[in-house]
């Protein structure tokens, strides 16, 4: 085995880990190793022409949904971390990370684009660039598998689903119709929902083009979803927040696809004292796209962003963004 091949193997090993956070209880599937029993995709009861038709069917089945009060609405308080998903099973044939792009799932142009991403991942060990590197928001569907921490705040009229990458906040408007008065689409679109007992069913529309991850397919501005969220308990004290999702995208998918994502309680993060903070991507990110690949700007180089330097008013006292240690890097005003 050549050294390059070894490096590729190493990168793939890291990639498997990335695709399947929380490997402590690895599952037998090619991807989606997570916490607790294997994740099982539950497809919709029948095919639907659109996400809206799907959502309305589920709403009718739930007889208009459960009207929760502040005391009865399901509580998913605290920090949560990703605990596996199956989204890569949609796009890659067995045996998993060494498999090939499954043909006929994506439309021809999206399939061609994805094959290039997958080629980079498998041959070079890295997709050469990630759109998040220039601080593009995570967007949806990528929100579903971003790591770090999540918070799920349910109120009777609205739910706030937060990922600390950004932070990236999804708002679910309970019992409402879709609205879009902005004349465009957005990173998290417009999400409406209803409660079916302890399950939360949502419909998301009006999204901007994004992706599942940098090693997964791109999505279009016609991407939509129907989600069913539920907190589930399993033997052995395993508690998992799961969402069954059907993704619709007439530009990217030949037909709608299904996946399940899971989260577990972030007790380690809570014990460590983690509090979700604003990410300072625009002011601190020094990773850039250059000559077809990713590289980093270093202190003193043109374009370097000093996240802990002074503000635009360095002559005023108290303008350092490093208030405890007051450090400076080369090229900075003291």
């Amino acid at each position: 085995m050549s050294l390059n091949r070894r490096v590729r193997c190493l990168a793939m090993a890291a990639f498997v880990l990335v695709s399947a956070p929380s490997m402590l209880f690895a599952q037998p599937g090619a991807f989606g190793g997570g916490y607790g029993p294997p994740l099982k995709v539950v497809p919709p009861p029948r095919a639907f022409a659109s996400s809206e038709e799907h959502y309305k069917y589920l709403l009718a089945q739930a007889k208009g949904g459960t009207k929760h009060t502040i005391s009865s609405v399901p509580r998913w308080d605290g920090l949560w971390v990703t605990a596996g998903n199956t989204h890569m099973d949609i796009f890659i044939d067995p045996p998993g990370f060494s498999g090939k792009v499954r043909e006929g799932v994506l439309t021809p142009l999206y399939e061609k684009a994805y094959k290039e991403r997958w080629r980079q991942q498998t041959e070079l060990g890295e997709v050469q660039y990630d759109r998040l590197t220039h601080c593009e928001p995570v967007g949806y569907p990528r929100w579903l598998l971003e790591p770090y921490s999540h918070e799920f705040v349910n109120l009777p009229q609205e739910s706030y689903f937060i990922n600390d990458f950004g932070p990236a906040i999804r708002r679910i408007y309970i019992g409402q119709e879709h609205k879009n008065v902005y004349g465009t689409h957005s990173w998290f679109g417009d999400t409406i929902g209803f409660w079916d007992g302890q399950k939360l069913v949502t419909n998301t529309k009006y999204l901007l083009p994004a992706d599942f991850t940098r090693w997964s397919p791109m999505t279009s501005n016609q991407f939509e979803s129907v989600e069913t969220w539920e907190l589930k308990q399993y033997p052995g004290g395993v508690e998992r927040l799961e969402v069954q999702v059907t993704f619709y995208d007439r530009y990217a998918f030949v037909k709608p696809v299904n996946a399940v994502y899971a989260w577990k309680r972030g007790t380690d993060l809570e014990k460590a004292g983690h509090r979700v903070q604003h990410w300072e991507c625009e002011t601190s990110n020094n990773d850039v796209f250059d000559k077809g690949t990713t590289t980093s700007k270093l202190p003193g180089e043109q374009g370097f962003k000093d996240a802990r330097g002074s503000t635009l008013f360095p002559d005023l006292p108290g303008q350092s963004r490093d208030p405890i240690y007051n450090t400076t890097l080369p090229g900075e005003k003291k």
Binding site: A13, M23, P147
Partner: protein
Amino acid sequence: MKTALRVPLAVLVAAFLMSAVAFAHHSFAMFDRSVEKVITGTVTRWQFNSPHSWLYITVKNPDGTETLWSFEGAAPPQILPRGVTGTSFVPGTTVTVSYCPMKDGRPAGGLGWVRLANGMYLNPADGGCDGSDKAIEKWKAWMAAGYTSSADALKGK
């Protein structure tokens, strides 16, 4: 030679598999992850920011000049559970750092583990290099033998 290579590489792979999630918001294409090195210097700044932490250390060169080295680590939420906080690497203190160097040769790299002046090891690594317990144990033996590069250690130079 083959066995000498195989064992540390297997350890490296296992270390990656056992390490925390390497899920950065960018590709690690700029780092040469086939090589690990260690270097000692004085902390200039520990920038415990999302989306990436950066450790800046000043290293004295053999000719008496100094070079600022920059090492990229993981986001705070990833490494807080590993015991790394915003006060772990105090400016002015001496640290030894393992890193995977930039492919273009600039004084920077993907951060692996960090050894504090009191001998304690911490793992602020992202996917850019390996800072796991297994990597630390491997390097303890290599450093005791005087190695500062995995390439030399694997060759037994």
